[in-house]
């Protein structure tokens, strides 16, 4: 199986991934607020966060995440994929939006294809299912 690998050191915050995602899913419109990937800026660094598949159980490994000098207690990074505190909602309908990977072949996940800096890439990981 494949997954999207995020290298935050390469992200410059241009938000092409957000546009690519929303353009690919809405086709005739653009709306970064309906994208399934959003760029989080913290401590002057940029972190693309993907609204991935929901987890099956409540989070029982809640640990504080330390980035730079800041400790995150908002579950910011995980929340996008969290079934209990899902955060990427369609602003009109309120329904949660989720990454559907837009297929692996061309055109591939639109965000990966469009990322101009190489912060997003595809990686093959072993499947255990």
């Amino acid at each position: 199986m494949y997954k999207i690998k995020v290298d935050h050191t390469k992200c410059v915050g241009c938000r092409y991934c957000e546009l690519a995602c929303s353009l690919n899913h809405l086709t005739t419109a653009l709306n970064p607020k309906k994208a399934r990937i959003r760029v989080l800026k913290e401590n002057n660094r940029f972190f693309p966060v993907i609204s991935g598949p929901s987890t099956q159980a409540a989070c029982n490994i809640k640990i504080d995440l330390v980035i730079g000098e800041k400790v995150y207690d908002f579950c910011d990074i995980c929340r996008a994929a969290c079934p209990f505190k899902d955060i990427f909602k369609d602003p009109n309908t309120g329904s949660a939006v989720q990454c559907d990977f837009c297929g692996i072949d061309a055109p591939g996940p639109a965000c990966v294809k469009w990322c101009p800096t190489g912060a997003l890439s595809i990686e093959e990981v072993p499947s255990y299912i």
């Binding site: 050191t9 410059v12 915050g13 241009c14 938000r15 092409y16 546009l19 353009l23 690919n24 809405l26 086709t27 005739t28 419109a29 653009l30 709306n31 970064p32 607020k33 309906k34 959003r38 989080l40 800026k41 913290e42 401590n43 002057n44 660094r45 940029f46 908002f74 910011d76 955060i87 602003p91 009109n92 469009w114 101009p116 800096t117």
Partner: protein
């Protein structure tokens, strides 16, 4: 028509009322949007002779048809008003995410008029627009202002996606040096606008939009963006802009002696090269939908100054250390004072001190001396009486001691380059609608045009820049972007089938509106002065050739 939302917000601060007005883009195709439409609205609603800090002056913020659509480098929102610094019309380019967010909130632009009774900030969340009290933001620096406005939101994601355009304490005190800052980045050319915000008691504009942006032909638009990204990445000039930010012309300018030092007393001869400067860059930052990503950040994530700010805060004041200059730049951004003007102000004081014409007891800074330099930046940023009582801007500092002829600049704005060595920069600085130190013209002009071609090059550059900013696209694209790709995008977004000539015509019309505004505003005395200070043989001839090309008298 797609590309425009067809709505503008009129904010009357005196009555504390907000109106939504219809905008018919068909009626404004001569100027498209952005900078052009901003100038058109300002010229039609404001008397050019108005006092910049008076109640009658207005601020027009306008996006172009390509702003926020995802078109390459389409992030520009023009902030048009009559500047307190130059007393001319000025159109600053707010980049990053502000313009895109305003478009997503459903508005093409804002017209801000009147004056609030007490400090306020404007809060735009789609259809919900409020004028809110900003007492809690009084005296706060630009970073704290952004943070405090964002902390009013419960949801951390929503808070982060609120885009704030604000002034610092200097703007509240109406200093002509005050500028605008958005998300830690200086709004280009905004020196003189901060004071206008302050005069209206407007501390900040916060916006968040969640609406769809629709296209005429989405499929071909997606295709054209991919082509545009490819074009940009393969273009040599834009690639070097991407790698070296505005410093891509640094070595050239040094070798041509265009970079001055010690308040224009001699050309800058650095002991170290570009490598020592670039060693301080850790990461890059890009605006909305811009693959160029030309902002440089240091290790701490603070933005590194652009070339003109680097010169003004560095060599002009006798400093070379990039880390020190970056620190000074960061202080300027926090206070919301224009780094170029601040550097020139301090360098002027240093020069005056050397000439021994400063009164006793006043600040007596020395070139290259650190402690008084930082002390002065703080004093200017906080508008301390000892310094602001002396003079509020660079030109009045020189006038105050009777050496007005020593001021280097146009209409009160310092141009931090030795114009004598570069006719293209000189002609552009003097003839542009507002004095500007756009060093990118150096790259646009292919570095060394023949002297007789200079007026045509300058006109071409100004027209292209104005046309791009009217489209809502960053002017840096004029260095290597393909106009036909932008026209293709314009067609895909709006359905307009234009050719290059018509697009450049928009630039020409924009400059004409701005020129007429400045003519009526009067007070162009210093423009003539500067041409006498430029010791380029035959410069008068270039000037008249330029005016002939434009068809202006």
């Amino acid at each position: 028509m797609f590309g425009w939302t067809g709505k503008i917000l009129r904010v009357n601060l005196s009555e504390e009322k907000v109106f939504v007005e219809d905008l018919k883009p068909e009626e404004h195709l001569d100027v498209l949007g952005g900078r052009g439409l901003g100038a058109k609205i300002l010229a039609s609603e404001v008397d050019p002779g108005v006092e910049p800090l008076g109640r009658e002056n207005k601020i027009v913020l306008m996006t172009g048809p390509l702003t926020g659509t995802g078109a390459n480098s389409g992030s520009v929102c023009a902030v048009v008003t009559k500047s307190a610094l130059t007393k001319t019309i000025v159109s600053a380019s707010s980049k990053l995410y502000f313009g895109a967010e305003l478009k997503a909130a459903g508005y093409d632009g804002l017209v801000i008029e009147g004056k609030a009774k007490s400090p306020v900030y404007l809060d735009i969340r789609d259809d919900q627009v409020e004028i809110l009290p900003a007492d809690f933001l009084e005296g706060q620096d630009t970073e704290a202002t952004t943070f405090l406005i964002r902390s009013g939101f419960n949801d951390p994601w929503v808070a982060r996606e609120v885009r704030v355009l604000c002034i610092g304490a200097a703007g509240e005190r109406r200093l002509p040096l005050a500028c605008l800052v958005t998300d830690g980045i200086l709004v280009a050319d905004s020196g003189g606008i901060g004071a206008v915000f302050g005069s209206k008691n407007l501390k900040a504009i916060a916006v968040r939009g969640t609406k769809d942006i629709l296209f005429n032909d989405g499929k071909s638009f997606i295709k054209s963006i991919a082509e545009g990204v490819k074009e940009i990445s393969t273009n040599q000039t834009l690639s070097s802009l991407s790698s070296f930010s505005s410093y891509f012309v640094y070595d050239n300018l040094i070798s041509k002696k265009v970079i001055p030092s010690l308040y224009f007393s001699k050309p800058y001869e650095p002991s170290n090269g570009l490598k020592d400067i670039s060693a301080h860059w850790a990461r890059e930052r890009g605006c909305f939908a811009c693959p160029i990503a030309c902002f440089k950040l240091d290790n701490e994530g603070e933005s590194f100054p652009e070339l003109d700010a680097f010169i003004a805060l560095g060599p002009l004041c006798g400093f070379e250390d990039p880390a020190l200059i970056k620190k000074a730049y960061h202080r300027c951004l926090l206070h919301g004072i224009d780094p170029v003007e601040t550097g020139a102000f301090i360098a002027s004081l240093m020069r005056l001190n050397e000439m021994n014409v400063l009164e006793q007891g006043a600040f007596r800074p020395v070139f290259g001396e650190e402690s008084s330099y930082f002390e002065l930046i703080e004093a200017l940023g906080q508008g301390k009486k000892e310094i602001v009582g002396l003079a509020k801007d660079v030109i009045s500092l020189w006038e105050g001691v009777g050496y007005a002829q020593n001021f280097i600049g146009v209409r009160g704005k310092t141009i931090p380059f030795n114009l004598n060595y570069c006719p293209v920069l000189a002609l552009n600085a003097i003839t542009h609608s507002w004095p500007t130190s756009s060093f990118d013209i150096f790259a646009y002009s292919k570095k060394d045009p023949k002297v007789k071609d200079v007026p045509a090059v300058v006109k071409g550059y100004q027209d292209t820049k104005a046309a791009l900013e009217s489209l809502g696209v960053c002017a840096f694209l004029s260095l290597g972007g393909n106009l036909s790709t932008l026209l293709f995008m314009l067609k895909a977004v709006t359905g307009l089938e234009w050719d290059e000539e018509r697009l450049l015509g928009v630039g020409e019309t924009t400059l004409k509106i701005e020129h007429e505004f400045n003519q009526k505003a009067g007070g162009e005395g210093d423009a003539d002065n500067l041409s006498s200070k430029v010791a380029i043989s035959g410069f008068e001839g270039l000037l008249s050739a330029y005016y002939q090309l434009r068809g202006w008298s």
